[in-house]
Symmetry: C2
Subunit: 348 residues, 2 copies
């Protein structure tokens, strides 16, 4: 928990407050006792007349607009591309925008940050800090540790991504379809292109011309940017699975230098962002339900690649709503606060 | 459908007739109009007093024993390691054993066969022909095509395997757990080590000392044997997912020679064992529910690897009970019949 050192607490605006990540933001802010002064909950037209209960108080949800940011220190944006229109106004009002969307991530002037991995990227921010895609955030934490250990040369990822990564309507679709199928009824996909209940879909976000999805492209580009390895050989197949919360990744990592399983385990064990669950003798390995609601990235199934030298397999599981979204944004806010990187002095 | 050419039809014994693969065997034998004379349904003590309806007749399920094989031409074994004890008696009685278990697969004297991939391995059989593990069977069909095209040098597989691969009790466990969770009840895993409903488990079969599972080891060893590439660099991560029928595989294939996506597509399109579902512009790619109940191996998401040269990604989906088990065994039987490889002349 960042300390306020007797100064005034942070004035926060949450954009997209009624969505699945918005709700997670409020939950984690409370859990971590984040020092909040003024709290503004912003959303689109659809949600504007609702209220949200937080720390014993009802907050009205206001329509997000260019004049929403007066006196705001930090905007936590869990909205989509609407932030493109609103960010300049927020910055002009003196706020810093921490954005969960893909709008600014690959902009060379915008730091793309996973605290604990590339903190110093925040030091010269220009008012916007981007938080990566969920499947990237949980991947770069173990990758950074392995890179420091033996130098990454190639990364091959297959993902198993839960439906909550696609928002509340996707969670509802999995639940409704499951209910219908259990009662012998047929189902019609709406959020996803195909049925997701008791099925899986090798398609997340739009397809590019080269046959990769945007999701796969994001994982590649964002990992390179966060790790400052612009030439890293990295590839991905992204798959949606009928899991509610928790993304899993089967990752093959090739190295410049030899590395043993034991060295990998020791490096992970020494990190306070990783929970090492790797004891196959006792069936210890992480699954999505183990990671749901938790802060660490869980790593298991560490083993030598048997198709090359100098490579390890790892199995990575994390709560996509937390480390993959809300928790990462709040850790960015905590870092800004702690390192006095807010644009207006947070003082009484 | 094999023709009997006026000769007597085949006397068949099905071992493990009451299991999930046993039932699939009977369904497919009927679909394909397999010429059956005598039909013996064998099972363990647990199922011995039941009956099974097939082609308008009730068949008693008999206890499998060493004297069960008199006059039998082919034993289709979907039982476990009990076949080790029974196979010598079946062979002594003049039968050929087509075995779905892992008991004989890696025995150098036993052909391990996927019809359409390595048929000639059957020509000098010694009375037993092994059918591979489900995740191997669907993999080697596209791999053989790609090997003929450009020479495999390395294969990296992550699987998404349905619960039916673990038998009827596993299917029931997914259904029961899903029902309980939808009604707010807690669940206790029995067949699997962890909850499978709305979850996934990176653990199939037992763990070896090197950190791989037997399932992963089987895929590696069996693929090498079937493709006659004993040194092939190949590795696997095998994961159980909450899908009822249909295994999916994310496969990265590296080649000795350059190969384009178009060449890969054309090679698959020319195979009568593959359905090419690969048009991302129209969201065409296979998912488990597309493959369930169908005979082909479905291939989609073909694209250039962006982490190396001379490599392609493919996405492979098939019905694990059919191509991965019952259909493959019956295709072996059909081949034996067609090529007069039965040990007793099938003649009137």
């Amino acid at each position: 928990m960042p300390t306020t050192n007797g100064k005034r607490p942070v004035n926060l605006a949450i954009l997209g407050a009624t969505g699945i990540v918005g709700k997670e933001l409020l939950k984690i802010l409370d859990e971590r006792n984040f020092p909040i002064g003024q709290l503004k909950l912003l959303a689109s037209e659809r949600s504007k007349d609702t209220t949200i209960h937080f720390r014993g108080k009802e907050y009205p949800v206001e329509l997000a607009a260019k004049d929403s940011f007066k006196n705001i220190d930090i905007v936590l944006s869990a909205a989509g591309s609407i932030i493109k229109e609103l960010a300049p106004a927020a910055i002009a009002a003196g706020a810093i925008v921490i954005d969960k969307s893909s709008a600014f991530r690959m902009n060379p002037e915008v730091p793309l940050v996973v605290p604990g991995v590339n903190d110093s990227a925040m030091d010269n921010h220009q008012g916007i800090i981007a938080s990566p895609n969920c499947s990237t955030a949980q991947l770069v934490i173990p990758l950074k540790i392995l890179h420091d250990l033996a130098g990454l040369t190639r990364v091959i990822v297959s993902t198993y991504q839960s439906v909550s990564g696609a928002g509340s309507a996707a969670v509802e679709e999995l639940e409704m379809q499951t209910h219908s199928l259990m009662h012998g009824q047929t189902v019609e996909p709406k959020v996803f292109t195909k049925r997701i209940a008791f099925n899986l879909i090798p398609h997340i976000d739009k397809f590019n011309k080269d046959g990769y999805t945007r999701e796969e492209e994001k994982l590649v580009e964002e990992t390179r940017k966060i790790l400052s390895l612009p030439q890293l050989a990295i590839t991905c197949t992204a798959v949606r699975v009928p899991v509610l919360i928790g993304h899993s990744e089967s990752v093959l990592v090739e190295f410049a230098r030899p590395v043993t399983v034991e060295q990998g385990r020791n490096a992970f064990a020494a990190s306070d962002m990783i929970e090492l669950w790797d004891n196959t003798e006792d069936n210890v390995y992480p699954t999505p339900i183990d990671a749901a609601g938790k802060d660490p990235v869980y790593v298991g199934r560490i083993r030598k690649d048997n198709s090359s030298s100098n490579a390890l397999h790892i199995w990575v599981v994390a709560d996509n709503l937390r480390i993959g979204a809300a928790l990462n944004a709040i850790r960015i806010a905590e870092y800004l606060l702690e390192h006095k990187l807010l644009r207006q002095p947070v003082a009484s």
